[in-house]
C-alpha cells in the first residue's frame, strides 16, 4: 500500500512540478497544468459548437501536440493532459447548444435538449445551463473517483489471476462485445472488427518477409496508426457530413441568438432536489461507461428514463396527497414539472449520466489497455506514439524499493483528471455561458476547416505527402462504412488491439506447448472464450426475434 501511495505522490508531483512551460512571478508553471487548462477551454468551445465534438478535437490536436512536444517520455503528461482537458470540456460544453438552440453539440446531449430547450423557451436558459454544469461536473467527478479506486485493483487482479491463455480470451471477449454492442447490427459490427484486424496485420508478422503487402514496399512497415484512425474516424465523418450538405437543397439556418440574460442562480433547495437524480444517473453512467464500446448516449437515455419514472411517481404521489388535503388542492408545493416540459431534474438526469461515462470509460483503457470509446482510443494512440507508457496491467506493477515510471504516469493522469474537474467546477459554468456564441457557427464552414486542419496535422507529424493520401483513403473507407451502416469504432478498436491479440495468442500457444485448444486450457480461459462466442450469438438471436430493441447508442 505504501508503494502505491508513494507512486501516487510522485504522480501528483510530476504534474504540478513537471517541466515548466513558462515562468510566472519567478515560479515555473508546469506544462501539464497549462495543457490541462488549455485543453479544457478548447473542449468547452468544441462541445458548444454543433458539428464538432471532443473526439474530433482530440484527433486533430494529437498529431500537432506530438509534433510540438516530441516523442520522448517528457511529452506524455502535457499531451495526455491536453487530451483529458478536451475530453472533459467537451462533455460539459455539449449541453450549451442543446439547451439554447435545441441542437445538441454532441450525441451525449440529445436527452439534455428534451428539457433544456423548453426551459430556454420559458426564459430560464441561465438556470438550465447552471443545472447542466452542476450535474455534469458532479457526474464526472464521481466517475473519476470510481476510476481511481477501481482501475488499480482491476489491473492487479488481471495481472495476478490471468495467464496468457486467459488474456487472449479476454481480448477476444472485448472484441466480441464491442462488435455486438455498438451500432444496430452484430453482422456489421463483426465486419468492422474484421476489417480493423486485417489492416492491423498488413506489413507485420514475425517472418522477415512482410505479409499482406501485395508487393508494395511502402506497406512493409504496415499502416501508421495516426492516418488510419484519423482517416476512418474523423475524415470519414467529415466526408459523411459533406455528403449530407451536398444532397441538402438548403443549408440549415444559423440559430438566432438567445435574447435573454444567462443569469439565474440555483437555490439550495433546488440543488438538494437535483441530488437524487444526479446520484442515480451518475451510477448508471459509471456502470455503462466501464463496459467497453457502450457510449454515453445510452447512459443519458437510461439515466433520463430512470429519472422520468421517478419524477412521474413523485408527481402522482403529490397529486394524490393534494387531493386529500383540500387546503393544498391545486397548489404546488414546489415547481416540479413532468420530464419533457422543462424539468430541471431532466437536464440533471441526462447530464449526470452522460458525463459520468467519461471517467469510467478509462477503466478498461488504463487497466487492461482496451479502449472503450473514441476518447480512450486517442489516449491510447497518444500512449502508443509517445514512448514510456503502455496502458494495461503491467503499468500497475510495483516492486519494493523500485519506482515504476508507468505507474507514476497513471497517477499523473488521475491527477490531471481531478485538475480538469477542478477547472470544471471553478470556471466551467462561466465558460459555458461565454462560449454560447459558438453554437451559431455553421457546419458548412466548420467541416472544411476540420478537413484542412486534419490534413495539416497529419503532414506535420508524418512529414510525408503520402501520409495525407493514406489518411484520405482511410477517410473514404470510413465514409463508405458509414454509408453501409457499418459503425467505425469496432474497426478502430480491433486495429489497436490486433497486434496485441496476435502476440498474446502466439505466447499462449507456445507456453501451452503448442496446444491447439489453449483457449480452453483453464476454467477461466474457457469461460471467457465461451462468453466471447456467446455474446454476439445472443445479441444476434435477440435482434432476430425482436428487431431494433437491443440497439445501443454509438460510443462516439
Amino acid at each position: 500500500m505504501t508503494e502505491i501511495l508513494h507512486h501516487a505522490w510522485l504522480g501528483i508531483l510530476a504534474v504540478l512540478l513537471g517541466d515548466p512551460l513558462f515562468a510566472l512571478g519567478g515560479y515555473g508553471v508546469s506544462a501539464a497544468l497549462v495543457m490541462v487548462a488549455a485543453g479544457f477551454v478548447l473542449g468547452v468551445a468544441v462541445g458548444a459548437t454543433p458539428g464538432l465534438a471532443g473526439p474530433m478535437a482530440m484527433a486533430v490536436s494529437l498529431p500537432i501536440l506530438i509534433s510540438v512536444f516530441g516523442f520522448g517520455s517528457d511529452a506524455l503528461l502535457p499531451v495526455m493532459g491536453f487530451l483529458i482537458g478536451v475530453m472533459k470540456g467537451a462533455t460539459v460544453g455539449g449541453a450549451v447548444p442543446a439547451i439554447l438552440f435545441n441542437t445538441p453539440g454532441t450525441p451525449d446531449a440529445y436527452m439534455t435538449a428534451l428539457d433544456g430547450y423548453p426551459l430556454t423557451r420559458q426564459g430560464q436558459a441561465g438556470k438550465a445551463l447552471r443545472v447542466a454544469h452542476f450535474s455534469s461536473a458532479s457526474g464526472d467527478t464521481f466517475s473519476d473517483l470510481v476510476l481511481i479506486l477501481c482501475a488499480p485493483f482491476l489491473a492487479v487482479g488481471v495481472e495476478r489471476f490471468l495467464d496468457l491463455p486467459e488474456k487472449t480470451a479476454l481480448l477476444l471477449l472485448s472484441l466480441a462485445f464491442v462488435s455486438a454492442a455498438i451500432g444496430g447490427s452484430v453482422g456489421r459490427g463483426l465486419i468492422s472488427t474484421g476489417l480493423g484486424l486485417l489492416v492491423a496485420y498488413v506489413g507485420t508478422g514475425l517472418d522477415f518477409h512482410p505479409r499482406l503487402t501485395l508487393g508494395i514496399d511502402d506497406l512493409a512497415d504496415g499502416f501508421a496508426p495516426a492516418p488510419v484512425i484519423l482517416g476512418v474516424l474523423i475524415l470519414g465523418e467529415v466526408f459523411t457530413r459533406f455528403e449530407g450538405m451536398w444532397h441538402a437543397r438548403r443549408l440549415r439556418r444559423t440559430p438566432r441568438p438567445v435574447h435573454q440574460r444567462l443569469a439565474g442562480r440555483l437555490t439550495r433547495q433546488e440543488r438538494r432536489r437535483l441530488l437524487p437524480h444526479i446520484a442515480r444517473s451518475a451510477l448508471i453512467g459509471t456502470i455503462i461507461g466501464a463496459l467497453p464500446g457502450i457510449g454515453s448516449t445510452l447512459a443519458a437515455l437510461l439515466g433520463y428514463r430512470a429519472g422520468r419514472m421517478r419524477q412521474a411517481r413523485a408527481l402522482r404521489a403529490r397529486a394524490a396527497a393534494g387531493a386529500m388535503d383540500a387546503g393544498a388542492a391545486g397548489k404546488r408545493a414546489d415547481d416540479r414539472v413532468p420530464f419533457g416540459e422543462g424539468a430541471i431534474e431532466g437536464v440533471a438526469a441526462a447530464e449526470a449520466a452522460n458525463s459520468s461515462v467519461v471517467g469510467a470509460n478509462l477503466i478498461p483503457a488504463l487497466s487492461l489497455g482496451i479502449p472503450g470509446n473514441v476518447a480512450a482510443v486517442f489516449l491510447i494512440l497518444a500512449a502508443e506514439t509517445i514512448e514510456g507508457f503502455n496502458p494495461g496491467p503491467t503499468a500497475f506493477r510495483t516492486s519494493p524499493g523500485l519506482v515504476n515510471p508507468e505507474l507514476v504516469i497513471v497517477f499523473g493522469i488521475f491527477t490531471m483528471m481531478m485538475l480538469a474537474n477542478a477547472f470544471n467546477w471553478l470556471m466551467g459554468g462561466s465558460m459555458m455561458r461565454w462560449l454560447a456564441v459558438l453554437s451559431r457557427v455553421p457546419e458548412h464552414i466548420l467541416m472544411p476547416f476540420v478537413l484542412l486542419l486534419t490534413l495539416s496535422g497529419i503532414y506535420i507529424q508524418q512529414m510525408r505527402f503520402s501520409a495525407m493520401v493514406i489518411v484520405v483513403l482511410f477517410g473514404a473507407l470510413g465514409w463508405g462504412m458509414r454509408r453501409l451502416g457499418i459503425t467505425p469504432l469496432p474497426f478502430v478498436i480491433a486495429y489497436i488491439l490486433g497486434d496485441r491479440l496476435e502476440d498474446t495468442a502466439r505466447q499462449a500457444f507456445s507456453a501451452t506447448g503448442g496446444d491447439g485448444l489453449f483457449l480452453f486450457s483453464s476454467p477461466v480461459a474457457s469461460l471467457l472464450t465461451l462468453a466471447a462466442l456467446t455474446v454476439p450469438a445472443v445479441v444476434f438471436w435477440r435482434r432476430l426475434r425482436a428487431p431494433g430493441e437491443t440497439k445501443m447508442g454509438p460510443a462516439m
Binding site: 435538449a113 451536398w246 484542412l452 505527402f465 454509408r483 459503425t487
Partner: protein, 232 residues
C-alpha cells in the same frame, strides 16, 4: 460522433432535435417497410459480398502473401505462423458477412444508409459527390505543390532576379504560398459548393483559415513544416 440530427417537426430552430430522435436513439426507428424491400436486398448484397471477400482473403491472398502458414516449426518448437492472424481476420469478416446476410431489421447506426433505396438518381448524385470531392482534393494538392514554383517562375519571366525555389521554400512567404493558396482554395471551394453560390466571403474565409493555421504552426514552431515544405 454523429452530429446534429436531421430536421424534425418539433418547434424550434431548423435542424433542431425532437423527441422522435430520442426514440430513434432507443433503436425504434428502423421498423420501416424498406427493411423487407430495398434495404433488405442491399443488406443481403453486403453480406454476400463480404463473405466472398473473406473467402478470397482466406483462400487466395493470405496463402499467397505470407511466408509462413498457420503453424510454423522453428528450433524443434511449434509456433503460430504469420498466416494465423490474417486468417482470424478473414474468419471474423466472413462471419460478419454471413450474419449480415441473414439479419432482420438491423438498422444502420448513423441513419445515413439509403443504398439500394434511392434509385438511380441517388446513385448518380453520390457518384457526382465522390467525383467532386476527389477533384477538389487533387486540385488542392496540385496547387499546394506547384503554386510556389509557378509563382517564382512567373517572377523570373517578369525579369525579377530570384534564386531557385529550393533555396527559398523554407522562408516566408514562399513557405506559405502553396499551403495558403491550395488549402485556402480547397476550403473556399467546399464552402461555396455547400452554399450553392460563389462568393468573396467564401474565398475570404478559406484564405483566412489557411493563414490562421499557418500562423499557429509556423510562427511559434520553426521546426514544424506545413505542406509541401517537408517533401524531398
Amino acid at each position: 460522433m454523429s452530429g446534429p440530427s436531421q430536421p424534425s417537426g418539433r418547434s424550434g430552430p431548423p435542424g433542431a432535435f425532437s423527441g422522435a430522435d430520442a426514440g430513434a436513439l432507443a433503436g425504434r426507428h428502423d421498423a420501416t417497410p424498406n427493411v423487407r424491400g430495398g434495404r433488405g436486398r442491399s443488406r443481403l448484397a453486403l453480406g454476400l459480398a463480404t463473405l466472398l471477400a473473406a473467402l478470397l482473403l482466406g483462400a487466395v491472398w493470405v496463402p499467397a502473401d505470407t511466408q509462413t502458414g498457420i503453424l510454423q516449426y522453428a528450433r524443434r518448437q511449434v509456433m503460430l505462423g504469420d498466416a494465423f492472424a490474417p486468417l482470424l481476420a478473414a474468419a471474423v469478416l466472413g462471419l460478419g458477412g454471413l450474419l449480415t446476410a441473414f439479419e432482420r431489421g438491423a438498422s444502420p447506426p448513423t441513419g445515413v444508409m439509403r443504398a439500394g433505396t434511392e434509385g438511380g438518381q441517388g446513385a448518380r448524385k453520390r457518384a457526382l459527390f465522390v467525383l467532386f470531392l476527389a477533384a477538389t482534393l487533387c486540385a488542392a494538392a496540385l496547387v499546394v505543390v506547384w503554386a510556389g514554383p509557378v509563382l517564382l517562375g512567373l517572377a523570373k519571366l517578369a525579369g525579377f532576379p530570384v534564386p531557385e525555389y529550393r533555396a527559398l521554400r523554407a522562408s516566408p512567404p514562399w513557405n506559405a504560398i502553396g499551403f495558403v493558396l491550395g488549402g485556402g482554395g480547397m476550403v473556399a471551394a467546399l464552402i461555396a459548393t455547400f452554399e450553392h453560390r460563389l462568393s468573396w466571403r467564401a474565398l475570404g474565409l478559406g484564405l483566412l483559415m489557411a493563414i490562421a493555421i499557418w500562423a499557429v504552426f509556423d510562427l511559434p514552431f520553426k521546426h514544424l513544416l506545413l505542406p509541401p515544405n517537408a517533401a524531398p
